[in-house]
């Protein structure tokens, strides 16, 4: 079986990488911060330290980024043994980095909004789980009807898998999706900043 002229295995590996980066970054930043806030209650200590809220948020998000990178790179090493056709260049690294950043900030945002541990789980099952299957990870968007395609473009993961796939398989690179990723990153980081400001009321 092949999709758009590539073997399905080669086609699906970048999708799984996008997926791994999404889950581990979201959990790395979000679940960690949620535990710090509500269970260890050590987040207050950070809030009372003389550091800017930007550094605080960036730090919490970078935790997600490096955890996401560790997991996706580890998976990539295994996957390259099975699917050697994967090409890793600067665009691939950039897309992976952006993917990790987007979902780390989404994790931070979710953790700041959550007032219980359950909220966090709800967020995961309502937002992350549907994205796992709909975000262009296991299939190509090209054969879908236009309306559905447009709807799936609203999911950040769709853009991540498209960029990672194009970079890994050497197709024409979807620069618009890269811009979309940057937009999602900006939106999530600004939103978490706003929520953090509201926390101290």
């Amino acid at each position: 079986m092949s999709v758009n002229g590539t073997g399905y295995l080669e086609f699906v590996v970048p999708g799984i990488i996008a997926l791994t980066a999404m889950t581990t970054s979201f959990n790395g930043a979000g679940t960690r911060l949620n535990t710090d806030r509500l269970f260890f209650r050590s987040f207050d200590e950070c809030l009372m330290a003389p550091i800017s809220s930007l550094s605080l948020l960036a730090g919490k998000a970078i935790i997600g980024v490096y955890r996401g990178l560790v997991s996706s790179i580890a998976f990539l090493l295994v996957a390259m043994l099975i699917a050697p056709g994967i090409h890793i260049g600067p665009l691939f690294v950039l897309s992976l980095l952006l993917t990790c950043l987007i979902f780390s900030f989404l994790g931070v945002l979710a953790a700041l909004l959550a007032s219980t541990h359950e909220d966090m789980a709800t967020f995961s099952s309502l937002i992350l789980l549907p994205m796992t299957f709909l975000g262009g990870t296991f299939f190509s968007l090209s054969q879908l009807p236009l309306a559905l395609k447009m709807a799936l473009y609203l999911l950040p993961l769709t853009h991540c898998s498209m960029c990672l796939r194009a970079a890994a398989l050497g197709g024409s690179f979807p620069w618009w999706s890269l811009m979309g990723m940057a937009a999602f990153l900006l939106a999530f980081s600004l939103a978490s900043m706003a929520v953090l400001k509201r926390l101290s009321v």
Partner: protein, 284 residues
């Protein structure tokens, strides 16, 4: 004397409910000041405002002259805090927790290492430096939190219910630590619902009830205002308390009393002051 802490007409509302209402007080540099009040009196909220975690609805709070709402960044380097609940990172060791805090307060590597050794020694945890927080006892955790709060040499230390849930020995040890750091010049602001803690440890006590300050002064002053001598008498199964400025007036009153049994004459204490001011026992 400089003012370390100043509250001016402070108020805080949560969902339309006033948890702090027109609270004004001053704490001098070098003092141990205690906020005494039952659970839910607004003590922790006051500390949250002073430590920049919450913004006041009205009024001002100043730490070493810096406004907590307007200059939070300046305020943050002035104080250390020991929270009521365990707020250490449980998956890090004692030393790593201290190091994290020192790094957040921008201590240089050299200063950090020296200061951590010094404080581990101060709180008697040198032998436990490399233990995970989860593996040490409750008293040790509290001491580790005290060490952490002192890392950046703050001039003011807040302690929210510093001895809650500790056994008698650990409690005394925490008291000694508080006295020790106070002798070295740190201003201490603590909250407690233990009367003996306020009486034995604090130079001055503020009694807080339903978000309002009822009285402020040294334990002796507060007792004198009420009356040095307390007379308890039982009537119909209820105890009545009367207070007198000295033994003579109290004795005269006791002699004139008729048909009362179980009359006890004793020195008044902070608990008497508390009950008279708030109409309830502190630990109710």
């Amino acid at each position: 004397m400089n003012k370390a802490i100043e509250l001016i007409g402070l108020a805080k509302e949560y969902c339309g409910k006033r948890v702090i209402d027109d609270l004004s007080l001053e704490v001098e540099e070098g003092e141990i000041f205690g906020f005494l009040g039952p659970n839910g009196a607004g003590k922790s909220t006051a500390i949250r405002i002073l430590t920049t975690l919450t913004k006041p609805t009205a009024g001002r709070a100043l730490i070493n002259g810096f406004d907590v709402a307007k200059q939070p960044h300046m305020v943050k380097s002035q104080f250390g805090i020991v929270q009521q609940h365990l707020s250490l990172n449980r998956e890090l060791t004692v030393r790593e927790n201290l190091e994290l805090h020192a790094r957040l307060h921008h201590l240089s590597k050299w200063d950090r290492d020296r200061r951590i050794d010094e404080l581990l020694d101060f709180v008697d945890l040198t032998g436990f430096a490399h233990q995970l927080i989860d593996k040490i006892s409750g008293g040790m955790k509290r001491r580790a939190m005290i060490a952490r709060a002192l890392i950046h040499r703050p001039r003011i230390l807040f302690l929210d219910e510093p001895t809650v849930g500790l056994d008698a020995q650990s409690r005394r040890r925490v008291w000694d630590l508080i006295r020790g750091m106070n002798t070295e010049g740190t201003t201490v602001f603590l909250t407690t619902h233990y009367i003996d803690e306020a009486e034995m440890l604090c130079h001055r006590v503020g009694i807080i009830h339903q978000g309002r300050s009822m009285a402020i002064g040294s334990a002796d002053q507060l007792r004198r205002n009420l009356g040095e001598i307390a007379v308890e008498s039982k009537k119909d199964g209820r105890t009545r308390y009367c207070y007198f400025p000295d033994k003579e007036t109290a004795s005269k009153f006791v002699l004139e009393m008729k048909a009362a049994d179980g009359v006890v004459m004793r020195q008044s204490n902070l608990e008497d002051v508390f009950i008279e001011l708030t109409g309830r026992r502190v630990e109710e």
